[in-house]
Symmetry: C2
Subunit: 561 residues, 2 copies
Amino acid sequence: MKVVIVGGVAGGASAAARLRRLSEEAEIIILERGEYVSFANCGLPYHIGGEIKRRRDLLIATPELFREQFNIDVRTGHEVTAIDRGGRSVRVTERLTGREYDEPYDRLLLCQGAAPVRPALPGIDHPRIYSMRNIPDMDLVKKLVDGGAKTAVVVGAGYVGLEMVEALVHRGLKVDLVELQEQVLPILDPEMASDLRFHLEEKGVRVRLGTGVKVFHDVNGRVEIELADGQSVAADFVLMAIGVVPESGLAQAAGLETGARGSVRVDEHLRTSDPEIYAAGDMVEVTDTVTGERTNIPLAGPANRQGRIAADHICGRNSAYTTTQGTAIVKLFDLAAAITGASERTLRRTGIAFEKIYLHPFGHAVYYPGTEQMHAKVLFDPEDGRILGAQIVGFDGVDKRIDIFAVAVRMGMTVHDLEQLELAYAPPFGSAKDAINMAGFVGANVLNGDVRFWFAEDHPEKTAAGTVLDVRTRKEYEKGHIEGAVLIPLDELRSRLDEARRLAQPLYIYCLTGIRSYLAYRILDLNGFSELYNLAGGWKSFNCCYRERLEDGGIGVRHTS
Amino acid sequence: MKVVIVGGVAGGASAAARLRRLSEEAEIIILERGEYVSFANCGLPYHIGGEIKRRRDLLIATPELFREQFNIDVRTGHEVTAIDRGGRSVRVTERLTGREYDEPYDRLLLCQGAAPVRPALPGIDHPRIYSMRNIPDMDLVKKLVDGGAKTAVVVGAGYVGLEMVEALVHRGLKVDLVELQEQVLPILDPEMASDLRFHLEEKGVRVRLGTGVKVFHDVNGRVEIELADGQSVAADFVLMAIGVVPESGLAQAAGLETGARGSVRVDEHLRTSDPEIYAAGDMVEVTDTVTGERTNIPLAGPANRQGRIAADHICGRNSAYTTTQGTAIVKLFDLAAAITGASERTLRRTGIAFEKIYLHPFGHAVYYPGTEQMHAKVLFDPEDGRILGAQIVGFDGVDKRIDIFAVAVRMGMTVHDLEQLELAYAPPFGSAKDAINMAGFVGANVLNGDVRFWFAEDHPEKTAAGTVLDVRTRKEYEKGHIEGAVLIPLDELRSRLDEARRLAQPLYIYCLTGIRSYLAYRILDLNGFSELYNLAGGWKSFNCCYRERLEDGGIGVRHTS
């Protein structure tokens, strides 16, 4: 059997290696348009930023290694221009020489990935406008930075955009970040992204939200951007990072069925509409784990696993790919931001019922140094408590917690399962009641009817019918509080119940993070108050819905070291 | 209803707070023999070591806070000396005054924890022999260290012993560690503990394994220990950390049913054999998640959750505690060591069939700085692939991976589930194929028959029948190899198949970590070799079974910073 693989980075390289482990007889050819195979595309910003010192560390497997260890024929600089499905061959152009030839296949595997979006804006062809997909892209930008570039504009505040901002700031550049949405990292719900914005601003980044590029102008070789909001910003170069589109042109031209965002439709074995052609990675359509929608979610982990599964099936094994849940994480200076499963925005759009909670647990035992509160949002099914999604922004322990939520989403676990989890605890690593257990407890309290929450978006319209009740200390209240809130500190509540009874009901209770207000809620509930709401995540989560940074609100500053 | 709680640290404090959240009417009394309630007992070594600067940070909740926020009557220095089950009251001694009184209860909750074992050895009453259970214990040892103690002997290399060793070394003391077993951290399988020992020795700790204390002598106020192996060691003080026993004397005297290791037997609602008496925490018997055995596993996380569940049930809720799986982690200087579920030792003892694999994955993308290989052992069911247990020793990312294995053990997940997990990946946090996915792939390979493993313990007896085949490079081989191993580097294997065929079969293949040898295994398997074994975890895991430290073997040294 002869297997031709188009594209040799994540899915393609994984598939090729797996194919060889399953068959010594198969002839395996990788046709890669670029100069490199199996490089660390997720590492590109970090070589520019200087964390990854050696460029060669990004080259995970070379054509030589593929040949020597795997007996695989890797042809870089070979571009496939057409598929002849009837004749079972591909048309190839050797880019260096222009030579064209046909390469027959028994099975074809497309792993072409996704290409950075390059919008048809006036001036987009300016030579100082870059994107970040491969090693040559990196080399170009790194050369500019090494050569003394002082300013940059990054357009797009998604993962790649944020990583590039961090890299360029590390290198001493003054960076403007332009994002069309009213938030950074638009895959998060907006309130979860606000601390990221504050953190960027603390690091000296000028964040321009809710605006986009209108025109690129050349000014003496530099770029000046005219923004949609009428402002303009100039820089030594521009990095476009407004997303990627599946590289499905070849597949479409061959008449293969496509789906969401132009991605190639595949079955659970990664077979396209032509059973002799497989596709894997960022270019294929997947099913969303939570919503069941067909969609396209470019991620390295799924790409690698899909490559493996396609190889299995080509070799006659029954491996299957199930769904993609969109687990992702980004480091942004001292912060980490992560998501798994559905966001609130997605659940609303798809009409899936949910409850939501916010928490501010610490990464590890608060009395052991080096930890901070993180901001976590958990979405779950209001009937059975099944975890639908989670988002976390914080300093330490974010990656660990999002991974556990990722397992929960995948395995259909409920908030009650989270209550029961027995996780590893020692003061440097966690808490006896871990953040995950706490999320389970709070979620279970909702399902049990022990607490009902209110949210920032209920203020002031909904809260106006009752009273906002602050149960923090007088000192905290005096430093700042929700406008119109009445103060009854938790410690005084039992002796001031009559006073609380005279307030307009319902009571919209709050404290700093939601713990003391929960205690107050319970006291009032058990004393016969029937219209109670506890502010989910407290003052800290509340503040994330507002644009101004408030003292003691948000988590954008690391308090300890 | 009146609830009396005996003991106010982990389970007792959790139960009391939960009780109040469920009932404003209940009268809740905590009787605590010591001076402190709800203190951070897991933090004690770190205040001695200096990481936790302020002693007051260890006092999580004071009696005042319990009174003001929870309306709970906390009586420290009050010791319960007897239970009158018929009369539903406890006999209490106020330690300061000697006053005795009876305190009636409707429900009694015992949360007395576990006491350090203090063996009846000659000289054990020497005033410079300490243990580490509570704040006064900590104060005593800290005072000695602050006062200039130069040397210490820690007896027992479990969690507390290792944490105390680290703390004392941080403070500049010369420390001897004495352990009766032939390994440190005896809860791990021995090969997983060997890197811990090397790491201790690198930090200047004298590790004395396989020996115990015979006699303690006084030498001018200092302690001299005569060891069972005939050697002796002197020090300014001794810290005994050879384990704990359930504090069940009061329960036993009252005729409550007891079980494993003298722990108090409870049902799933934490009720003892007297349905009006509950017990929770380190003093109770639990069911082992994996083996189903009744046992006693003292851990902070389960203690806290049990307290909560007991409170629920006292208030008429149907909460239930299921099982304890023994998830635990310890920081030892730069290393972390962690376990969840059953060890190989436990599985062998209980006759549960298992497969085992070893891996050496990196904490995050190898090209991003700050990561090291960890050493992971995973045990799973040979039929359905269900995860039975895992152990990890390493530098970064150990806590995250053990937690995911902990979820896997609890939820009955299989190696196939691990293959499919979609975890958060960016270079600073993980790998596109995470350590967990890799464990799933390797486990699935075993179940699919794609690989069979051999282990260090098969050498030299079992391997003598065939050939040990080294597939590393010539350079690696020349630096050191398994005695008698034949070298055929992986890259030459396809061209030297005839030579391989002439070797005595079976072939016991190995490389450094098991990856290249797996490739070699597949090449040979697909070329008709039928008697093949791959060394699980390779040369690195192999070396962990031997006492001498070998260059490039083991993980006791952090290579990058």
